[in-house]
Amino acid sequence: MRSIGSYETVTFLLAENVWLDALLRMGIVALLVPVGVILLTWVERKVIGRLQQRLGPMHVGPFGLLQGLADTIKLMTKEDVRPDSADRPTFELAVFVIVVPVFMAAVAVPFTSDIFVRNMTLGLFYFLAVSSLGIVGFVMAGWGSDNKYALLGGVRAGAQLISYEIPLILSAVAVAMLGQSLNLYTLVNLQDNTPFIAYQPLAFIIFVIAGLAELYRQPFDIPVAETEVVGGPSVEYSGIRWSMFQMGEFVSLVLISALASLIFLGGWIWPFSADNATWLQVSLMVVKTSAFILFFMWMRVSVPRLRIDQLMALCWQILLPFAFLQIIINGLVLVYDWPNWTLTILSGTAAIAMGTLIYHIARRSGVLYQTSGAAQRVGSVL
């Protein structure tokens, strides 16, 4: 592997004072993110509408473009209902515990070589650690609502998110091994010739599947499944508090997509040179991130929901061993200094093996995995 050089990163200040600078950056994020979320809700309804041969929202504004805005006004003016028996502090704080970590994670994600909040040495690690805090919020919301469905949803969310965090982190570790760094800048700069997806197809597939599960979107929307737990942890929330759930969900969708395009698809560099113009960097990132977002939306309408035991079996019995396999492959190649193409071949073979394994298990049993007694009992409890 190429050794890491010291990459000079451009650090520009919006204001002379460090605190004022930080405040300004936070202000920009706090203004842009809600606008982005409003747009994304419209995009999601439109995309899903088209995929289901419907038109999606059409009435408010041209092509229904202002539907998101109308919904926002509705949600903000709606009454904030709280169940009488709810545990007040837990119920009210839960939404913040969900949203704040998402914004904290956004601090570490650079969008181009100039546009970022903080360039951290441990950026990748920080992102994964901080986004794991959101689980506490779901569990709090589930328990604090004093509602059976909310509690079930909260417990499901805890089980699912904590399980899928492990393959997600391990696949990121595989990339960090290859780049010998946890700095997202260094990782992107190393991909100016070949994006890491070419060397790590297995880690990429695991990252996307685990990322989809961390976003609890279909087919992994078990914690919030409407037909099973009627919305899960968010069932008792209304108005502005409910919209904070929505905001957390959509911001994480953007962040996971951005992270995937940074560490696997070469971020703002590949397929151009390292010092391309800012507009080109922005458009590269927008294209790559949107591709992931659209893929996640596409999955939502085309794959049926898994059962909780199938979900757990996929995580612990397939994704986790294969993530370790990817790390072992990387270790061998790095220690013995084999050429890079061996990495492509080994990881690619393992990725195909994992795909075939999942396909055969799904074919043979009609479901994803033969249910074991323990999993069935967990399934009946959840």
């Binding site: 040495t121 690690f125 650690a129 901080v130 805090l133 506490v136 569990v139 417990v155 904590i162 409890v381």
Partner: protein
């Protein structure tokens, strides 16, 4: 008072409040949530000491994993509020044990001759941590992973045994 000190006192207050909350709260779930607060406060202290790696590990392991498992277990077992203080004849013994523990801790902190510079936090890069962890301290590291492995297999064996019944 420098602003570092001001930040430290805020963090310390949050941590101590979290710790007190764990003990005082009547509801076990509230105690667990206060525990998360205290552990995150400790992570913030690590950040102030320029040990970012340790801080992130603290958030990842204690903030997002261990406490979730505690909460998870409580929710599945339907814990109830503890009615009134749980008191008993052990009270004086407990007080004595707590006082001795506090005394030992305070003594240890004040009497130890700390190595290195205590005036300023030394920044240690993640590369150095990795190198030392896998060369000088490779043995303790391996032993720790062995212990984890044993407990993991033990948990599986116990779960399997239940399934057979």
């Amino acid at each position: 008072m420098t602003y570092e000190e001001a930040i430290f006192y805020v963090i310390a207050a949050v941590t101590v409040a979290g710790g007190l909350g764990v003990v005082i709260a009547r509801n076990v779930i509230h105690s667990a949530l206060f525990l998360i607060m205290a552990l995150l406060g400790v992570a913030a202290v690590y950040v102030l000491l320029a040990s970012e790696f340790l801080a992130i590990v603290q958030v990842l392991v204690y903030g997002g994993a261990v406490t979730i498992l505690i909460l998870f277990a409580m929710m599945l077992t339907r814990v109830r509020d503890t009615a009134g203080p749980m008191d008993g004849p052990q009270r004086p013994i407990a007080a004595l044990a707590a006082t001795i523990f506090l005394g030992t801790t305070v003594l240890a902190v004040t009497q130890t001759e700390w190595r290195g510079n205590t005036e300023e936090a030394t920044v240690i890069s993640i590369y150095e941590i990795g190198e030392v962890l896998f060369t000088t301290w490779a043995m303790p590291f391996e032993i720790a992973s062995l212990v984890l492995m044993v407990s993991l297999i033990g948990a599986i064996v116990l779960a399997r045994g239940e399934e057979g019944e």
